[in-house]
């Protein structure tokens, strides 16, 4: 995913597109994530100033939600569902396999992949499920996991 670096003009544009409404903060933060990939300290300052909120207000919202990163993720984000329906279909073992094959622990990144748990993708009749860069995959065996990750390599090269 190509993302642009944080810049004030781009950020202002996103805030304006949401009518400079403070009640749109969560939605604006999503727009920042889509465009810049993470929420920097500078972004927090700008949001506070342009939405007439305190920096503490904005920081409180950014830190509350799992979706909002305060540091950039790797090029690809691999999320493995760790909730009950997927547990019932062996997601604990799938997580172990993923950690081993990517040589990463959950919540860690290398230069290619950020590995994270997610609590339900709503694909519980096709468990275990994973999400890669926003796309959901179902019935993910260890072999299928490796194949999906290998496709990321091919897409990058």
């Amino acid at each position: 995913m190509s993302r642009e670096n944080y810049n004030q003009a781009g950020a202002s544009e996103l805030i304006r597109a949401h009518g400079n409404r403070p009640e749109m903060l969560v939605q604006i933060l999503h727009a920042f994530m889509d465009r810049f990939g993470w929420i920097s300290e500078e972004a927090v300052r700008q949001l506070a100033s342009e939405l007439n909120l305190s920096r503490a207000d904005v920081h409180g919202v950014v830190s509350y939600y799992h979706d909002f990163r305060t540091s950039p993720a790797a090029r690809h984000v691999v999320k493995i569902c760790a909730a009950e329906a997927c547990q019932a279909m062996g997601s604990r073992a799938l997580i172990k396999h993923a950690e081993k094959s990517l040589r990463l622990n959950m919540h860690e990144s290398n230069d290619k992949v950020t590995l994270e748990p997610v609590y339900c993708l709503g694909n519980c009749a096709c468990s275990p499920a994973i999400m890669v860069d926003g796309k959901t995959f179902g019935r993910v065996s260890n072999a299928r996991f490796d194949e999906i990750v290998a496709q990321l390599d091919r897409a990058d090269s």
Partner: protein
């Protein structure tokens, strides 16, 4: 004449290759010179058959199940454009037992129509209920919802008509409809299937609610884990607005209503109604004290109907077919239908909309076909992460809100997650506390601290440290969380924990301690 082929654009289908199947069909059609019209419908909910491709032959839709892109050339060779035989061929969709034995009240258009086509929606009774509702008048609409006995399908089961009446009776120049689509419970996906397969059905339900209580603005709070759903829903809403079914003076009736979609941001507790309202106001999803009820002072302090997707989407047919007919389904105070979701370790997972009164066993065995692994069932978690683990010995419990309450369980949003005999229930109890610790909004102590202590105490029991004392302590902790938490997050996390202590205590035996 071109042949119409349906390939679902729905998360479960796409997660197992539906997009690749659609591409392969288009390619094979081109190569063979066949003229096909590819329609991306939603899902019928038979997720175990996905990707479920349908070919229109004459008046019938012929279904092919579990189709992969690699199957497509062979399907063309087998003459599937004329319904030809192949290992994937199931037969006419309307004859699939999994589907025809359901009571499709709310989900009847799902799979049938193109979710993004207003014309298709209108051709299938779309928007006829809102026009009828406007003729009936607001109070008659509320009375119909009351008579139907419809209860909140998000999990709490509060009578929808009474909630609507409260909002209608509260004087305010501005009121809101807030639709809760923050479907966070593991094992549930009915909101998603509705929104991906018949989003306009929800739009119509919200229009009726808005008309009944005097609200001109609606919000849909959709979880961010559903990106495809978000794209389909927002496109459907734009289409409805362009066709004059949202906005000012809808179809010349003088009724104004519009809908805004907000995305959640990965917080489970935002599915709790007051946390959701906070999040809709752009804040952290910290729950509010009740009272005041949202019906009196909700979004931005204004009277607000907060209803789940399925609750609202059930209303159009209550108006069209009549409240008494809806009430004719179900048992006792659980009237109507619920979209049960068969999930986890199940052979035939998917959505089954059925009248209340069916037993868990019928759903899991007759529809679900038992476990996917073929092993015996050990436990079934109903109602999401806050629901009890029900042992195999209680599978004959009837699905009825009160019958479930009587066994210390809950139906919740209708998710049914099956575990086979390899499940380590001590780990499931630990996970319940761990998840609560992760997702607690932090406002009240029993939930914020209790859940962290809960994980520690369970670890001690698993490791056989002062077993009896810690067992006692865990029960006390459950009492405290249940009695003193502000919302269901802390208040119901003890349900799965207690159920494991009660029915699967042997899994806490020290030998299991090393098992993860």
């Amino acid at each position: 004449m071109s042949t119409r082929i349906y390939v679902p654009r729905e998360t479960a289908a796409i997660s197992v290759g539906a997009d690749e199947v659609a591409i392969a069909i288009a390619r094979c059609a081109k190569e063979s010179g066949a003229r096909v019209e590819l329609v991306r419908n939603g899902s019928w909910g038979a997720s175990w058959l996905e990707p479920l491709v349908e070919v229109v032959v004459g008046e019938q839709r012929i279904a092919y199940g579990n189709v992969t892109a690699a199957d497509v050339p062979a399907l063309f060779k087998a003459g599937f454009l004329d319904g030809g035989d192949h290992a994937c061929r199931i037969g006419p969709t309307v004859e699939i037992p999994y589907l025809i034995r359901q009571d499709r009240w709310t989900f009847w258009r799902c799979g049938l129509v193109n979710p993004l086509s207003i014309d298709d929606f209108l051709a299938h009774q779309g928007f006829s209920a809102i026009l009828k509702a406007i003729e009936m008048g607001p109070q008659a609409v509320i009375d119909a919802v009351k008579t139907s006995g419809l209860r909140g399908r998000g999990g709490a089961g509060f009578p929808a008509g009474i909630k609507w009446q409260t909002v209608a009776d509260t004087a305010s120049p501005q009121k809101y409809i807030a639709c809760n689509a923050d479907e966070g419970d593991s094992g549930t996906f009915s909101d998603r299937i509705m929104l991906e397969s018949d989003p306009l059905g929800l739009v119509e339900g919200m229009l009726i609610a808005g008309f009944a209580v005097g609200a001109s603005k609606g919000y849909i709070y959709l979880r961010s884990e559903y990106p495809l759903c978000h794209s389909i829903l927002t496109r459907a809403i734009t289409t409805a607005r362009e066709a004059g079914w949202l906005g000012d003076n809808i179809q010349g009736t003088g009724f104004n209503f519009d809908i805004e979609v907000h995305l959640g941001a990965g917080s489970y507790v935002c599915g709790e109604e007051t946390a959701m309202l906070e999040s809709l106001e752009g804040k952290a999803g910290v729950i509010r004290y009740k009272p005041p009820l949202p019906a009196i002072a909700g979004l931005f302090g204004k009277p607000t109907v907060v209803n789940n997707v399925v609750t609202l989407a059930s209303v159009p047919n209550i108006i069209n077919l009549g409240a008494d007919r809806y009430k004719g389904y179900g048992v006792n105070r659980s009237t109507g239908t619920l979209a049960f979701q068969l999930a986890g370790n199940i052979k035939r997972g998917g959505l089954v909309e059925k009248a209340f009164g069916i037993s868990l066993r019928e759903l899991i065995e007759d529809w679900g076909g038992g476990t996917a692994t073929g092993r015996p069932i050990k436990a079934v978690q109903v109602g999401g992460p806050l629901g009890a683990y029900i042992p195999a010995s209680q599978l004959d419990t009837v699905l009825d809100y009160e019958a479930f309450a009587n066994i210390g369980a809950m139906i919740g949003h209708g998710g049914i997650v099956v575990f086979d005999d390899t499940a380590d229930m001590a780990q499931q109890a630990r996970f319940a506390m761990q998840f609560c610790a992760l997702e607690s909004c932090g406002k009240c102590t029993p939930c914020r601290i209790g859940s962290v202590r809960g994980v520690e105490v369970i670890d001690r029991i698993i490791n056989d440290e002062n077993r009896d004392e810690n067992y006692e302590l865990l029960l006390e902790l459950c009492d405290t969380m249940e009695a003193a938490s502000l919302c269901a997050m802390g208040g119901m996390t003890p349900y799965p924990v207690r159920s494991v202590l009660k029915y699967f205590a042997e899994d806490f035996a020290s030998a299991e301690g090393s098992r993860k």
